[in-house]
Symmetry: C2
Subunit: 440 residues, 2 copies
Amino acid sequence: MSERSEQHTQAAPAEAPRGATLSRRRAITLAGVGVAGVAGVAGGAGALARGGDHAAASDTAAGAVPFHGEHQAGITTAAQDRLHFVAFDVITKDRAKLVALLQEWTAAAARMTAGKDAGLIGAVGGMPEAPPDDTGEALGLPPSQLTITVGFGPTLFRDAQGADRFGIADRRPAALADLPHFAGDALKPEISGGDICIQACANDPQVAVHAIRNLARIGMGVVSVRWSQLGFGRTSSTSRDQATPRNLFGFKDGTANLKAEDASLLREQLWAQPGDGPDWMTGGSYLVTRKIRMQIETWDRSSLAEQEQIVGRTKGSGAPLGKTREFDEPDFAAKGDDGQPVIAEAAHVRLAHPNQNGGAHLLRRGYNFVDGSDGLGRLDAGLFFIAYQRDPRKQFVPIQTRLARHDAMNEYLRHVSSGLFACPPGVRDAADWWGRALFS
Amino acid sequence: MSERSEQHTQAAPAEAPRGATLSRRRAITLAGVGVAGVAGVAGGAGALARGGDHAAASDTAAGAVPFHGEHQAGITTAAQDRLHFVAFDVITKDRAKLVALLQEWTAAAARMTAGKDAGLIGAVGGMPEAPPDDTGEALGLPPSQLTITVGFGPTLFRDAQGADRFGIADRRPAALADLPHFAGDALKPEISGGDICIQACANDPQVAVHAIRNLARIGMGVVSVRWSQLGFGRTSSTSRDQATPRNLFGFKDGTANLKAEDASLLREQLWAQPGDGPDWMTGGSYLVTRKIRMQIETWDRSSLAEQEQIVGRTKGSGAPLGKTREFDEPDFAAKGDDGQPVIAEAAHVRLAHPNQNGGAHLLRRGYNFVDGSDGLGRLDAGLFFIAYQRDPRKQFVPIQTRLARHDAMNEYLRHVSSGLFACPPGVRDAADWWGRALFS
């Protein structure tokens, strides 16, 4: 069965041995039924109802986002509502196994983003004595604008001991330079870094979780989950068609974000250009992730005026202080009657704004998270920050250096995890695969 | 500003002192604006666009579920897609403070389920030098069928040392008997138990998180978050209008669940009846929660046939083995050609089925969870089990005793958290409050 479908083509067992031990006779009988089932689906239209025409469906929350293209989907794609992000350690030393996995992953990602099962057979087809090649929890669910985006971490190129693990050390881009320590960083190594990351975004969290879970399953023995993060609500817009969402400080976030419509800015600020570094990254982008714990209980005890001073925007409309509408340009020179800046020197909007950072932009697509509680009577909540850019050395690093030193918001923040990944350009067609240009 | 609304009636500051210190003059100026803003909203229809007619909207995913009624909402309410569940420790010894909190919580819950701010003033109204009485992250979001359901744990009646903390020890229902240890239990005390629980279910996770976060904020100094759990996908239907969803084993879950339409069964199996115990619980229900970690990586390596034998249903359609449709009754007596039962003796569906448990039903409304990874290369994933019932001693306890001893699925499960709560009947009207009959 090749599509995610509720239709069940496998007959009920004619005989059911007790427990999990299958008699050989029964296995053969059921295998025959399984094959018939696959054939039945391949020839029938009913079971294919979920796939459909992706282009036509791509503008609905349930539709499909095309997987193949010049750039990876999931970067400028209008930010979906839910996230499952994972960072893997590669646990093999065998380059061929890693390459085979990247190829298998690419095929699975192409299928799942189209709303199909991870494997060709699916959760309920094939040989009953074999594990299904899809785990099944997304059966019957639409594509839900799932995007699956891959990135390669610094440690894939050279390990902590400096070894060239897979013969690609000389292909490491200079822009994939380890991030410096920032003031106030409280990073936990066990939820930072990683050799390979995969970002799954979708409008249905079950679809995003299903994608990561199946990629982890496919990678068994080659990669191991280092850390993973769910995000329940997007905190940025990446398209002018989207309303600006709110973070857990209750403020609109990402008003000045780089957006899909900013064609010339995307070339200048988002996509690696020819000559930037190794050719394999041309058309790709660099990803920085930061898990930022918010001290929401302390924030909630601060006054509205203090919150607005810290952010530099009004809480209701999101307008910069001194202006009336969200998308009004902040006036950083304006002073009040008392001669003080209307937008404080330490306000987040001032320190982070491109105008104040030599024009450096980020394409942010972070998510709110709540990971239970912290054992100290508080919710473990915050922002899983995700930012794409052409060169972190010129974008995230100088911006974050400034924020870490001066941002009035720091009193309420704690960066507990950090990731850096080189996300290659898009997969062009069915013959292409994640990292082909890097490993060829 | 009394409604959650994007409209921002507070003018931008005419003067903005540096940092968080407000001049008295500015505070007064802004307070005046705030009052004008509230008046403006009260008189204007535009800002009220989100509230609307709850009854009319209650059948849409974005609509409101009525808060007042004979029973609490969030039990037989058609299961929403997302969950935020919290268990609190009460940290005051002052009964009056606890009662005042329950009253304040009730009012806030009534407001939030109607799509309004937690407080009367809201996130962006009122005095700028005061903390907002709503945290703001749900501004502009619809009610999303939010339900907020409260329950009282055994430790609220008598603490671990046996002390009658709030003068209600003699009102503890016999049915709220501590759960026994079940075979295989691996409970973590820090994420088990709790004096008071609140279950927030909604179709938008940001709305569910907002509700719990604001109740925790309101409870500061009286209660402390003991543990909290997000669930991203419902695993049961509680209405015949809902399709049966899938758990992270990839199987349909809750096919034989108690449903809102089963009126006589609900009386018999779900709601505490007059004479069952103390009067304050009549019309209420007992809640058992279990956080069940699933060993999904091991499960994913097991064969389809083994998975189906363990569950006792086919993976695709959810039909009982030997039958063809999901809602066909399982035939536990049927034997295959080899003389063995078609549904194995240790199959989950057999052991959990009401027919095999003296007619005992549960109303389940659990959720899938993924809490990052476990540090051992695996996703920390599973089922947050939630079940309501008339008397756990006659329902959950005997069923779970049997499952814990015999269920073939146990190889893939680990119960890591447990909760037991008495959920009082519904709040009848605006003068009623959570626990009124218990504390009066």
